[in-house]
Amino acid sequence: MSTERGRIRVTGFDTDRVTERDDLSDWSEATTGGTESRWRRALRRFRHNRVAMLGVYVVAAMALLSFFARPVTIAGITVQPFSIAPYDPSTILYLEPGSTVGRYDPPTLAHPMGTDASGRDLFSRVLVGGRLSISIGFVVVGITATFGLAYGAVAGYYGGWVDEILMRFVDVIFAFPGLVLALVIVALLGGGYWPLVIAFSVPGWAGYARLIRGEILSVKENEYVLAAQALGARDRSVIFRHIVPNAMAPLIVQASLSIGTVVIGVAALGFLGLGFEPGTPEWGTMLDQTRETLIQGPGGSIPWWATVFPGGAIFLFVMAMNMIGDGVNDALDAQEVGNVGQGGGG
């Protein structure tokens, strides 16, 4: 066969065979149309991390279970009517008429996790018990990361004496272990939901501020920052539109690792009897009275279930949260951030 090309006659080469042959690879122009953004690439890497995805499923399952455990009413309106937990977590079943339930009943089919010191259903209490700790964890990390971000960004961007003063204050916060500062604040404000949020927010932001300041110091040397300034952009827009997005990765890693720390901290204050009213269905508070029972020992039988299940729930949640944190760290390829006894817990 031959092909006519102008006046030249090409022989021994069949163009049809080239256009019709199988592709050597599945490469095509369309799939590489643009570069994948950094965040999209991180998301894809995160999705392929099986350990991290297991963490996501566990955290999601525990958060949903605690939300749907009992109906939620806000200002008299029921916003969440479902009720997975078989009993009301605060009902003392022991006192119900015709009840066969006693104090510290071992796990049975009717009460899969047994009953506690007051004859309340532990399974229902463990399900509901996550509400306070989990939501405080997320709220505190939201507040502290936002504030720390703004604080660290200002210190790092302006530098000089502004930086010097702002960072000395951060050093002061770092001189207290998060849990001790939280404990003192709760001691002065009293327990409850919002006092606990404040107690863990006051020590929590300093870590983010220090981290973001360091990032900003290196990011602001980039030429695009100089370009933005030369074009007359205001400081605020330079900081938040050009510098901060490029300094976010370590902040996100730190935030995902801090949620677990705050949850443990809240439970620890509950365990110390300072976080909530005694008897509140909260994982840490539930462990408060079991210590006495364990140590004094009700002779012969040890109510292990009252200790194992609430604490196991905290452990499971925090473990899953840290698996997510490690996954985020790997996906964003951020530097190892030390989670060393700071950020509101330990």
Binding site: R168, F169, D171, V172, I173, F174, A175, F176, P177, G178, L179, V180, L181, L183, V184, I185, V186, A187, L188, L189, G260, I264, A267, A268, F271, L272, G273, L274, G284, L287, T290, R291, L294, I295, G297, I302, W304, T307, V308, G311, G312, I314, F315, V318, M319, M321, N322, M323, D326, E336, G338, N339, V340, G341, Q342, G345, G346
Partner: protein, 317 residues
């Protein structure tokens, strides 16, 4: 910057921080409503308003806030942290009395953390991505995730109540007797687990990073046995970051002691803080918090100086 200048600068830096810590501890108490006289009045309802005013004047509560702060600071600098109302003992006496107990517990936890973390970190880095690495990383992740109070309760449940290896309560013997040291294992492990896990993770990643450096290839090319390469060359360089982290872990051990002492009924500073909080002994809360703050500032100072001594690069920033 010479090493001496670096240390001098770093030591001078702690004074503004110490000042800030004292301001914050003082402010914490004074932004909350109510003062000690309100407590006294609540306990004795028949105190007349005139007497109440006289009490306020006597304790200097009508002075401007900065004057009150200075009075308090002068007291603190002279070692006078105020008094425990219920027992009428000086706060400083209580702190001095409880301190050895907390130091014993913290030291135990610290030694446990280092003994476990350093070999585990070396092992994990050498066997990177093998089964042993995965197992030790899983254990380290569990270690940083487990709440220390629950770990303590579980150790009592399993070690003391089920296996009967330990007594349930601390033996009433001297702090450094054999029975006491055996018992201290339980709270020591409880307080040290989180630190051991953090330290192990840092050890592993810093070892793994060093293993990729060129001097390691050079050492191997010279024909040194792998053992010598790891234990003599890599370990030495990666220990630098581990040493400083170990010093920083003091903070986590201090806050751990607050909870763990409560679990094991250990009569240390942390337990004193908790009972001060329940009994609203403001002076005692302030004294212990300030003491902890100063201890951590000093630990961080030691960590920074150690880092500068071990790694000459840090001085030339």
């Amino acid at each position: 910057m010479s090493l001496r200048r670096f240390i001098a600068k770093r030591v001078l830096l702690i004074f503004p921080i110490l000042f800030g810590v004292s301001v914050i501890t003082f402010a914490l108490v004074h932004i909350t409503p109510g003062d000690p006289v309100d407590v006294v009045v609540a306990l004795n309802p028949d105190i007349s308003p005139a007497e109440e005013a006289r009490l306020r004047a006597r304790y200097g509560l009508n002075d401007p806030i900065w004057e009150q702060y200075l009075d308090w600071l002068v007291g603190v600098l002279q070692g006078d942290f105020g008094k425990v109302i219920a027992t009428d003992r000086a706060v400083s006496t209580v702190i001095v009395e409880r301190l050895p107990e907390t130091i014993a517990l913290g030291l135990f936890g610290w030694v446990f953390a280092v003994i476990i973390a350093v070999p585990a970190g070396i092992y994990a880095a050498v066997r990177k991505d093998e089964l042993g690495d995965h197992v030790s990383r899983f254990l380290a992740l569990s270690g940083i995730s487990i709440p220390n109070f629950w770990l303590g309760l579980m150790l009592i449940l399993v070690g003391a109540l089920t296996l009967n290896l330990w007594p349930v309560l601390a033996p009433r013997t001297a702090l450094y007797s054999p029975e006491m040291l055996w018992y201290l294992l339980l709270p020591g492990i409880t307080i040290g687990t989180a630190s051991a896990s953090t330290l192990m993770r840092i050890m592993r990643s810093s070892m793994a990073e060093e293993m990729n450096k060129e001097y390691v290839t050079a050492a191997r090319a010279k024909g040194l046995p792998e053992r010598t390469v790891v234990l003599k060359h890599v370990l030495r360089n990666s220990l630098i970051s581990v040493t400083t982290v170990a010093a920083f872990l003091t903070a986590s051990i201090v806050s751990g002691s607050v909870v763990v002492e409560q679990v094991f009924g250990w009569p240390g500073l942390g337990r004193a803080l908790i009972s001060a909080v329940s009994n609203r002994e403001i002076d005692l809360i302030l004294g212990i918090t300030l003491f902890i703050g100063v201890a951590i500032i000093l630990a961080n100072l030691v960590a920074d100086i150690l880092y500068a001594v071990l790694d000459p690069r840090i001085r030339y920033d």
